[in-house]
């Protein structure tokens, strides 16, 4: 079937099977391998994408669910060669090690900061508890999210 959706700011018409997993559509069919798969069962958050601004697990979504939606994957976040504040904070605060959880973690952070612009560390930990990281012990990820929140909040006020 033909699906129409907006992906990273571009209107797309995509011919695909309605039961194709979104993670496969992105990675295998569209070459957007920034979205990772590591458990395939909704336990780890590595395949997180934003659908209409909300974080969703692309390994649990089927292509048909994308009709009329607006998607953001990690590839669409930096603009004009400038890292997003959250990406910049992850780099500067050492929140990236192997990097396989990073795209999902960054997008989950975007959703978190949209809902809770000035989170406490505890809130960050709770909100990101659906995204597993095996390398960092999470501390520097929390540091990065707090720093990004400060930058974004400071920028708005």
């Amino acid at each position: 079937m033909t699906l129409n959706f907006i992906l990273n700011g571009k209107n797309l018409s995509v011919e695909t099977s309605p039961d194709r997993r979104v993670v496969d559509l992105l990675r295998e069919d569209m070459g957007l391998s920034g979205t990772k798969e590591c458990c395939g069962s909704g336990e780890c958050g590595a395949c997180t994408i934003l659908v209409d601004g909300e974080s969703r697990l692309s390994c649990l979504m089927l292509a048909a669910q994308l009709e009329g939606r607006t998607l953001l994957t990690i590839e669409g976040l930096a603009s004009n060669g400038e890292l997003h504040v959250v990406q910049q904070a992850f780099v500067e605060h050492g929140a990236v090690q192997c990097g396989f959880c990073t795209p999902g973690m960054v997008l989950a952070t975007l959703d978190l900061l949209r809902r809770i612009p000035e989170p406490t560390r505890e809130e960050v930990r709770r909100e990101l508890s659906g995204n597993l990281c095996r390398c960092t012990g999470y501390q520097k990820i929390v540091d990065a999210v707090m720093a990004a929140a400060r930058t974004l909040h400071g920028g708005m006020s």
């Binding site: 979205t35 069962s41 336990e43 990236v96 090690q97 960054v106 560390r121 960092t136 990820i141």
Partner: protein, 781 residues
């Protein structure tokens, strides 16, 4: 390159200062290509048919029906393998595809190559394998009994992979003379690496019959040799590329999917093949941390001076040796902890069973040994009425001492300073207050552990690296990192080292990750040696290239000044070489174009010195790495809160005092300590790996529970930084020490809080609650 204004303002990041990792920039945008991310044009999927039994003879494999299915291009079995069909480092006992016998449920029996995942699934189900079940053995003690089923009948030692004894002084007999004694008997379980990128790769045959492979591996150079022998092809005809790994932790130390990729590529007529394990297959087929059964008795005199250690260690290595003997040797070497103990008897063995295969996992046997040793030290403190920190301090090794296993400690030994840092910290000073401040239905306690961890391979295998560094004609630099970066950021650190020596910003250097055709042979990414060894090699290469650049710049400036310019008068600055007396500069891009191609690349080889002292006992461990020379140390503290209603344990604070020598990049150093400690926390509390009759019951992430951001507290990391002369810039290697003491520190904290010890595997809520029930504490406010 992406980056904001700060990042574009590239600076020289000296050794010792925070240097953002180069790879973070590409990882944070999704641009970094991991092995999992490669989908070559026209590729075929590869899948594996696994065993239906934990132990059985294979009578027949019928792949005919499968091979006739639409979309299936090949069905392969052991008959398609021309070489020895045996993988392994020392003990080559593991087939790529089982030929006569299967020895655990993860054993591979056949391969399918297909156009789609759907065709793959259908074909794997259509393969018929006829088995003759054999009696299995799952209990490591039962595996030692007479009449037990033997996994590898051609081995003279039956199911014993390796056995050794280390005896010092009067051994266990001296226990009689001790004023105080304590005994602890524990079992630790398997631990799953749970790297987020499962085992994966792509491969194809080049036109010249070279097998080309891009794979998630810690050991690209060693893989070539292992594959060549098993497949009967020349190692020169195998090309391995190792891009950034999505985690490794030891689970990609050696061949995982490489044999399957190679075999499939050799039967696909030049088309690329791809394999990418599901999480379930990764857990089923991947290696684990070795389970240990240990009984420890220690004794001291009236003053708390340790006199005697007597212990027994039994490791379950599973169906194949893999790195079992090496893990065993390191556990034996570290079995007595970083203490002075004159009389020691350590008896250990590692045995085959029909359980999952155990091999390398961060810590490499030391976390298991420390789990036992550090709990019995706390029990001894209790028995003798000693303060647990004072007891550790009194007995801690100093440089020049001999370790409990007879190893002379000739290098930096910072354990006392680690204990000093721990003692000064408020988390320790306020431990009594912490215990007393527990709210209703909670119990609080503080636990500590003292640990040490050797660096590198030891005397048997050359611990070597070959660095390669190039100045490009645009004046920028390219670092050829021959050691895999499994996420620890070592490749970026190599660039930082080069940048420090060349006075250039490292962030704009080009990194070439391990590639057997471009980077030079270097040993594995493992053993806390990744930066230690390659870093030393890089110092040599960078100094050589620096002086070549200076020499060529001196020549160029001497033509301008019309007098000879000595190299000492040339300094490298970002982008230029400057003649200091005249102030004249030459851009590096110009210098580089005046250099011959052969001059623009510098290489340097480094092999670590080894400990050549005679060893009184445990001689058979030498070929597996015993003894070591450079050692890291640590003292770890946790505060816990145990819930008397649920049995749940929360780790509230963690303090890591670590001597890993000088710190090259404080951010990368903390990443290693925090990440290791978090894995230790999971190992202690959540990661119960359940196996029943050889079958894994925790086969996915909904049953095998990893720590989340809610479970790991903010930690304090306090480096102790002696200048280790063997190490590059005085460093030692910080990759593993952070995991080693967390399990016993948590066990000791729970014991302080509740008086109970969980002695079987993880300290899960269920087990803690049962222990609270037995001691009348369940549900007590």
């Amino acid at each position: 390159m992406l980056g904001n204004k700060n990042m574009q303002n590239h600076e020289v990041r000296e050794i010792g200062v925070i240097a953002p990792r180069i790879d973070a920039l590409t990882k944070v945008t999704g641009a970094e290509n991991f092995a999992a991310d490669l989908y070559p044009e026209g590729f075929l999927w590869v899948g594996v048919k696994r065993s239906d039994f934990p132990h059985a003879n294979i009578l027949a494999i019928d792949g005919l029906a499968a091979s006739k299915l639409t979309g299936v291009t090949a069905v392969l079995t052991h008959r398609d393998i021309k070489g020895s069909n045996r993988l392994g480092i020392f003990e080559k006992d593991q087939p790529i595809l089982a030929d006569k016998t299967v020895r655990h449920y993860g054993d591979a029996v056949a391969l399918v190559v297909a156009e789609s995942k759907a065709a793959l699934t259908e074909a794997l189900a259509a393969i018929r394998v006829e088995y003759e079940p054999l009696p299995p053995v799952f209990d490591p003690e039962a595996a030692l009994e007479t009449g037990a089923p033997i996994l590898h009948p051609t081995r003279p030692a039956g199911n014993v992979l390796i056995k050794s004894e280390i005896v010092c002084g009067n051994g266990a007999a001296n226990l009689e003379k001790c004023a105080f004694q304590a005994t602890v008997k524990i079992r630790t379980g398997w631990q799953e690496h749970a790297f987020l990128e499962t085992q994966t790769g792509v491969a194809w045959m080049e036109e010249d019959e070279t097998l080309s492979m891009t794979v998630s591996t810690q050991t690209p150079f060693r893989d070539r040799l292992e594959l060549a022998e098993a497949l009967g092809i020349s190692p020169a005809k195998i090309h391995v590329v190792a891009p950034c790994l999505g985690g490794g932790f030891g689970g990609k130390d050696g061949v995982t999917v490489q044999g399957f990729l190679a075999l499939a590529a050799m039967h696909s007529g030049g088309r690329p093949v791809k394999i990418y394990y599901s999480r379930e297959e990764s857990i089923l087929a991947g290696t684990k941390r070795h389970p240990l059964r240990a009984e420890y008795t220690v004794g001291c005199d009236q003053d708390g001076v340790l006199q005697t250690l007597s212990c027994r260690l039994l490791f379950d290595t599973g169906a194949y040796a893999s790195l079992g003997s090496e893990v065993f040797a390191l556990a034996m070497e570290h079995a007595g902890g970083p203490y002075r103990i004159p009389n020691v008897s350590i008896l250990g063995s590692a045995v085959y069973t029909n359980n999952p295969v155990s091999s390398a996992f961060r810590g490499f046997g030391v976390p298991q040994a420390a789990a036992a040793m550090e709990q019995v030290i706390d029990e001894l403190a209790k028995a003798g009425g000693f303060d647990p920190l004072e007891l550790r301090r009194k007995n801690a090794v100093r440089r020049g001492d001999t370790s409990p296993t007879g190893v002379l400690l000739t290098q930096t030994t910072g354990i006392l300073e680690c204990l000093d840092q721990l003692e000064r910290h408020p988390l320790w000073r306020q431990r009594t207050k912490w215990g007393e401040s527990a709210p209703a239905f909670k119990r609080r306690g503080v636990g500590i552990a003292t640990i040490y961890h050797s660096v590198g391979f030891g005397p048997a295998i050359a611990d070597y690296a070959n660095a390669k560094l190039e100045i490009l004609t645009d004046g920028k630099f390219r670092v050829y990192a021959g050691v895999s970066d499994m996420g620890q950021g070592n490749a970026s650190t190599y660039a930082q080292i080069a940048g420090h020596i060349l006075c250039q910003p490292h962030e704009i250097m080009d990194l070439v990750l391990p590639d057997t055709a471009r980077t030079l042979p270097s040993a594995s990414s493992s053993a806390s040696r990744t930066t230690f060894t390659y870093g030393n090699a890089m110092i040599g290469a960078a100094e050589l290239l620096r002086d070549r650049i200076r020499a060529r710049a001196a020549l160029m400036i001497s033509f301008q000044l019309l007098h000879s310019v000595p190299i000492e008068e040339i300094a490298l600055l970002p982008g230029v070489a400057r003649h200091l007396p005249s102030g004249r500069s030459v851009p590096l891009s110009l210098v580089a174009t005046m250099m011959d191609t052969s001059e623009r690349t510098a290489t340097h080889s480094y092999t670590c010195p080894v400990n050549n002292q005679p060893i009184a006992s445990g001689e058979n461990l030498r070929m597996h790495g015993f003894p070591h020379r450079v050692v890291t140390y640590g003292a770890q503290l946790v505060t816990v809160e145990v819930d008397t209603l649920t049995g749940e344990t929360a780790v509230c604070d963690m303090l890591n005092c670590v001597d890993a020598g000088r710190v090259l990049n404080p951010q990368a150093y903390e990443q290693q300590v925090q990440g290791g400690a978090a894995q230790g926390l999971g190992y202690a509390l959540f990661e119960e790996f359940a196996v029943a009759d050889g079958r894994i019951l925790t086969g996915d992430f909904s049953t095998y529970i990893l720590p989340t951001a809610l479970d790991v507290p903010d930690m304090v990391t306090e480096p102790v930084t002696p200048d280790e002369k063997d190490g590059p810039f005085g460093m030692k290697g910080v990759g593993e020490i952070g995991i080693d003491g967390v399990f016993p520190a948590i066990a000791n904290a729970i014991a302080v809080a509740t008086g109970v010890r969980i002695t079987a595997e993880t300290m899960s809520a269920e087990k803690v609650l049962a222990a609270l029930r037995q001691t009348g504490q369940e549900g007590r406010p």
